[in-house]
Each structure stands twice: as structure tokens, then as C-alpha cells.
Symmetry: C2
Subunit: 297 residues, 2 copies
Amino acid sequence: MGKLVECVPNFSEGRRPEVIAAIVNEVKKVQGVTLLNVNSDASHNRTVVTFVGDPQAAKLAAFTACAKAAELIDMEQHQGAHPRVGATDVIPFIPVSDISMEECVQLANELGQEIGEKLNIPVYLYEAAAKTPARVKLPDVRKGEYEGLKTAITTPERQPDYGPAHMHPAAGATVVGARQFLIAYNINLSTSDVEIAKKIAASIREAKGGYKYCRAMGVMIEERNMAQVTINMVDYTGTPLHRVFETVKSEAARYGVNIIGSEIVGMVPLQALIDTADFYLRLEGFERKQVLEENLG
Amino acid sequence: MGKLVECVPNFSEGRRPEVIAAIVNEVKKVQGVTLLNVNSDASHNRTVVTFVGDPQAAKLAAFTACAKAAELIDMEQHQGAHPRVGATDVIPFIPVSDISMEECVQLANELGQEIGEKLNIPVYLYEAAAKTPARVKLPDVRKGEYEGLKTAITTPERQPDYGPAHMHPAAGATVVGARQFLIAYNINLSTSDVEIAKKIAASIREAKGGYKYCRAMGVMIEERNMAQVTINMVDYTGTPLHRVFETVKSEAARYGVNIIGSEIVGMVPLQALIDTADFYLRLEGFERKQVLEENLG
């Protein structure tokens, strides 16, 4: 199947369909890239584009879309509910198959340099690509937003990683980085007591001493009169699905509660399902290329 | 990803590399087909070719390879340890993704008719494509082999499903059909007592009252001083991996024995792994298209 990376650029335009179409078209034009989703939000005035492809094709698509956004979006005119620093606000690369996080960090650096030099837009690297701990989290990098960063960018601690040390007059700044695939995962409980779900969520989430790559909350699903542990698995290679499932099962048993089902919301990388089967069947020496469909094309 | 079928034709030539290469080349030439494996055995004087592709491409590749085999193999000269009735001995179609067994039976009928009419080779349909119960099992269809079938073919009960009611002078007859994907699956036990493995194997195999689509034996793996249940899963959609694994675990516990691991030997369709994850995570409403890699162009 070859190396595959996902890229999810966020653009500061969610209202003008012709502008959104022009940006998305830049992605579509690149061979070796498959567009998966386009999600525009008018109140946020923001569009999230999801595509996958081989690393170089993905980088090219991200660059041309960023160039088009710089041409068509004027941050001086932009208003919206969502925090942002530029026309292309943030571009994360996500490893999908046969590619390491290190390669995605490298890709983020290459793209950052290209955007800085060719488009004259200042670029900040974040998450796995961050060069200092202060720039790992997106909210820290975006502090002050477009308006505040115009002056803050000249201070030493806000100096960009690539490009000029001043904002692009229309496109602002862009944040580029690499992170793991996020799996939205819900576990449904045989109880209508949301307090139990909240206690279980606390037991698995990082903030309360649980799993490092697990964000979790207990919520009530009114339509089913059922409590649910709703989870963001922010790195399934570090904290796998089966471990969270088994821990929730064990913690729920403490309250006499069972798991009645679980839901994967949206996409999941094949590797996360292989890892699950590998664990439960106690597979010895299983290799991904044994999956028949992996040998095509 | 689109409809995908596997095809595993067996040819009665395992000694002359140039003949094998010429036959395999017919498969390689067809667009939309991916060659997965070629396995020749000199003592059997037989070659097994494995390829996958979209249904029409797979049918075309099977036909052209069969035509080439009829051109280059003379059954009057053929000797080998393996039972056979023709130059192209047997052609099974196997559903892999987005295709039903009924569609594979239809494909077998189309190919059988084409081989009968265009190559003048008598064709018998077997397994899921069989038109009578007496022709389901390959050994029944192959009874008497090439030499015996030359006269038996004229009797009403051995009349072919397609093509002439006499053997092709060089290529003999061909058996075409449709069957499920076979998964070779071994479960390793925490004991060196092969009798326990044999008892567990008896509990899961169809012949002894076990699972319908399960063939199993207990064997000793000398290098690891370990007993093993070695299994052919002949229809993982009817008898899934997890059910066999859990039953072996339960039966082994009866003897104070644990499962120390399991092995998938060779290829496995993605769906079998999805089904495993689906079972253990108790997934609700999971669809195959949620697998990220399934959405690629």
C-alpha cells in the first residue's frame, strides 16, 4: 500500500462557498491525494479539509491550498467564533500507514520552510513538530490570535520557526505540525446513572492519573436512557483501544455495571483494528502484509 | 475499494519453468489483477497461482491462463503425485470484499461457459457453484482422474456442465467453482501433551459435532515442545475466528491448560480481523468504510 499520511488543514473561511471550493480544488488537483471530507462552519467562519496521500503529494496539496487561501482570504476582514492566527490557520500531518511520526515531523518542517520562504508567511511548528515545550499545545501557539500576534511576533519568545518575523499582511501566520490520529470512541454502560460513567471516565483519563493518551468524560445519552464514557484516544499506538475497553469493563464491574457496547465515531486507522485482533487472539508474529487487501496495486 | 475477488487456479505443470512462466505471464498481462503468489511443486508436477482483482479482470486472467495451459501442457504426457483431470485442473473464485458468494458462482458459470465454448474443454462446476450435491466436493468431481474420466465422461452422471461431452485431446477437463476464503489458523497450548490438543481439536471440528466450517487436528510442535490445535477455517463468515478461539480457551481450561498464542498462517481477509475487533469491543453499528484505508482512490 505504501506510505500514507493524513493532512487536516483548517482555513479561516466558512461562509463564501466559492472561496472554499477554490481552496478545496487545489487539493483535488494533486495526484496521489484522496479528499476524504470538507466541513465548513459559518459561525466559526472556518473550514476543515481532510485528505490522505503519499507524503510528498500531501505536502504539495497542503502548500497549494495554503497559497490559494493566502490569495483569497484577508485576515483584516475575518470574524468568527473560533480562535485563529491566519488564512490557513493550522496544518497537522498524521501518520496513517507505513510512516513514522519522525517522518511526519520532517514533512511539517519541509512544508513550514516552503510556506515561509515562498509565500512569505510566518510559520510556527506545534505538537510533535514543536521545537520548544511552550509550542506543543495549539492554544499556546495561537495566544492573542491574529490581532494580538501582529505585535507579539516581534518579541523573541514568539519568533516564528520559519518565514519572516512579521505577519503576512492578508494571510497572517500558519501553524504546522504533526500529531497522532485521534479516534473518537464511546463506551456504553448498562446503567442510567451518569455519576458511574463520570467515575469511570476519571479512572481512565490522563488528568486524573489514568492513561496518558486518553481524554474522557461521563455523559448521559438521553434517547437511550444510558450513561456513556465518551473518549478521545489521542494516540492509539500509546494507549490502545483494547486496554481502555478492558479497564472500563473492570471499573464498571465495581459498580455492578456491564459494557453493553462501544462505538467508533468516524474514521479509524486499520492498524488500530489489527492491534485489537492481535491482542484478543494473542497473535504470534502477525504482520500487516498478511492482510490480503494490503497487497493490492 | 470496489469489488474484489481472489482466484487460485491450479495447473498440471510443476517442472518446466518456461511453461510456468508463460502461464503466469498471462495473468500478469491483465490490468486490474494483482499476482500474489506462484507455488510450483515438482513431485506433484503442479503449480498453484494466486491472484486478486476486480471480477471481470480476474475472469479474463483465468481464461487466458487456461488457454495458455491448454496450448503448452499435454495431459497424455503428464505424471505427478497430485490428483488431476486437466492442464488447468481447478479454478476456484473466492469473495474478498464487497462481493457475494452468489456473484462468485455467477462468475464461475461465465468462465465455465467460455472455457467450454471457446477452448473446447469440458468444464465441471464444484463447491458453491455445483449444480448437484454429487459435484460439491472436488475429489468426487475428479474421481478416476484424467485417465479414468476419458471414458467416464460419456456416462450421464459424469456429463460436464459446460463444453463438449468428451475430453480435450491435450488439456483434458477443468473444474471451476466458488468457495470461501480458507484461513490457516493455529492455536498454541501451554502443554506438551498432544492428546489434550487432539481432544480439543475433536471438540471444534465439524466431523465430531463441532463447528460447521472448522477442520482441526491436534499436533505436536517439537521445536517448542508444545501441543497445537491446527485449524482450517473454511468459511470465516460462518464460523468466525473469535468463536473458535474462545471455544478452544474454554475446552483447554477443562485440562488446566491455557492458550499461549495463536497464529494466522499466510493471508487473511481484512473482514476477518474487523469481525474479531467488532466482537471483542462489542462495537455498535461499525461499518467497514470507517476504516480510513478503505476510502482511498
